[in-house]
């Protein structure tokens, strides 16, 4: 039996919504990598940790998860700053293997902390104001997903504005390209690193709040978010926000379509299959320059 056009359209739409949230997650990861050269393998695990925090707060306050971003973003910004100062800064300029070991280590600590505290069962927030469906005939729009997509896009564009239109953004881009010459320009490279890492982790606090308006917290979502956003960054090619958004949407749509048309289990694997295929034909990424 062929799936109805309505079902496919619905699936694409859900994929687009999910894709925008992915772009928010990938943005923080790509900033940290692009500016500092650090691959943060714990990036997804911060979203996992944030999801549990949102779960506790939203259930405790009987309020919507999205509002919890008012707490998670500043808190994660500060956590990001603390982790940069204590763990990341000492390994800057060290061999990549050391840096990988450090961030993978952070990820494992967070995962096992979550396992110990919350066990392996998925947790969802009970109260959400956004758990409504707008019925538009052929498709119905899940308000939570729509709003999370909208807020994600807003923040991604906001960060893009920061990077391209402000002095601090100019300093970040200069540091990303050549940190020694950036310091000659009077840029305090250490401060830029601190800011970028804190911002990257702060954004995972927001992503966690938005995710919990329709998703669930479990100790392993970090790994899937982390790997998936790497695929997005590699697909998009480092650099532009437009490439990042486009590849996020592609991954979101592919995932959603395979979930609808094939099976949820396969949908977890398909983005990686697509990724490997893209690498065969365009090693520089879909939107990256050679």
């Amino acid at each position: 039996m062929l799936p109805s056009p309505g079902l496919i359209f619905q699936s694409v739409l859900d994929g687009v919504f999910l894709g925008f949230l992915y772009s928010l997650i990938a943005l923080g990861l790509s900033l940290v990598f692009g500016v500092m050269g650090i691959i943060n393998f714990a990036h997804g695990d911060f979203i996992m940790l944030g999801s549990y925090l949102v779960w506790i707060l939203a259930n405790g306050l009987r309020s919507d998860p999205s509002f919890m971003s008012l707490a998670t973003v500043p808190l994660f910004f500060v956590i990001g700053a603390a982790i940069y100062m204590t763990i990341i800064r000492p390994v800057l300029g060290k061999e990549p293997l050391i840096q990988i070991a450090v961030t993978v280590g952070i990820g494992y600590v967070l995962q096992n902390f979550a396992l110990m505290m919350f066990r392996a069962e998925p947790r969802a927030v009970q109260t959400t104001y956004l758990n409504l469906y707008l019925n538009l005939g052929v498709v119905s729009i899940h308000l939570a997903k729509l709003i999370s997509a909208f807020l994600s896009l807003l923040i991604v564009l906001g960060v893009h504005y920061l990077l391209t239109k402000t002095w601090v953004g100019l300093a970040i881009r200069a540091t990303a390209y050549d940190r020694e010459v950036a310091s000659l320009m009077g840029i305090n490279v250490g401060k830029i690193f601190l800011l970028v890492f804190s911002l990257g982790i702060g954004l995972t606090g927001l992503a966690a709040s938005l995710w919990m308006t329709f998703g669930q917290a479990d100790p392993y979502i970090g790994s899937s978010f982390g790997l998936l956003t790497w695929v997005i960054i590699a697909l998009g090619g480092l650099g532009g926000v437009s490439g990042l958004i486009a590849s996020s949407l592609i991954v979101g749509i592919i995932q959603s379509l395979t979930m609808t048309l094939v099976s949820p289990t396969v949908s977890l694997a398909i983005p990686y299959v697509v990724f490997i295929m893209v690498l065969w034909f365009r090693p520089q990424g879909l939107f990256g320059k050679v």
């Binding site: 002095w167 100019l170 300093a171 881009r173 200069a174 390209y177 050549d178 020694e180 010459v181 950036a182 310091s183 000659l184 320009m185 009077g186 840029i187 305090n188 490279v189 650099g239």
Partner: protein, 239 residues
Amino acid sequence: MRNTLLELKDIEAGYGVFRVLHGVSLEVGKGEIVALVGPNGAGKTTTLKTIAGLTNLFKGEIVFDGLRINDVPPHNRIRKGLALVPEGRGIFAPLTVLENLYLGAYHEEARQKLNDSLEMVFTIFPRLKERKNQIAGTLSGGESQMLAIGRALMSRPKILLLDEPSLGLAPKVVSELFEIFKRLNDEWKVTLLLVEQHVKNSLEISHRAYVMESGKIVLEGESSVLIDDERLRKAYLII
């Protein structure tokens, strides 16, 4: 009596634990053009990098504008009026020409004079004005060097440290560049410390010069005297 702007006293510096400079002393007076010449590997670049704060300083003292700056981090040295135009130009290739120039005026005091400085740089390098919205990576070698110098001027430096500015440029562009150095010094009263391979050109435009070999100063004096020095003429084939 020279009005000293920059003084290096018995500097030993290098990278990691390796010493490249073995007791370098030199002086640059306000308003001077001083050339620093010598063979490859003599430590000229390391000397400039040490002044900019990019090396490990083991021993000695750097005094700039009356203050000891040994412990001032690199990003604060430009504030004090030290601007290094690094070897290879150090252009931010993915950014536009204008963005590169803005970065030269990143520190607060320079930012307040941004528009005046831009006008000054565009007067000296009209070609940068024509190309201001272009991506810097697409500039020719000569234009990149102009951008690197223009960017350094945006910081309103008291001294400009130039590391091999003529490297890889066509002879015609090189003479243009040396004309610009003279103009910067005459008209805009910028003090220059110039590291160069074009020994003859450098001696012609500079007031004084130092010759470096193996991390040490081996010869110093008035450029007009050094240009006739037998040893130097032999070593650098000045005809």
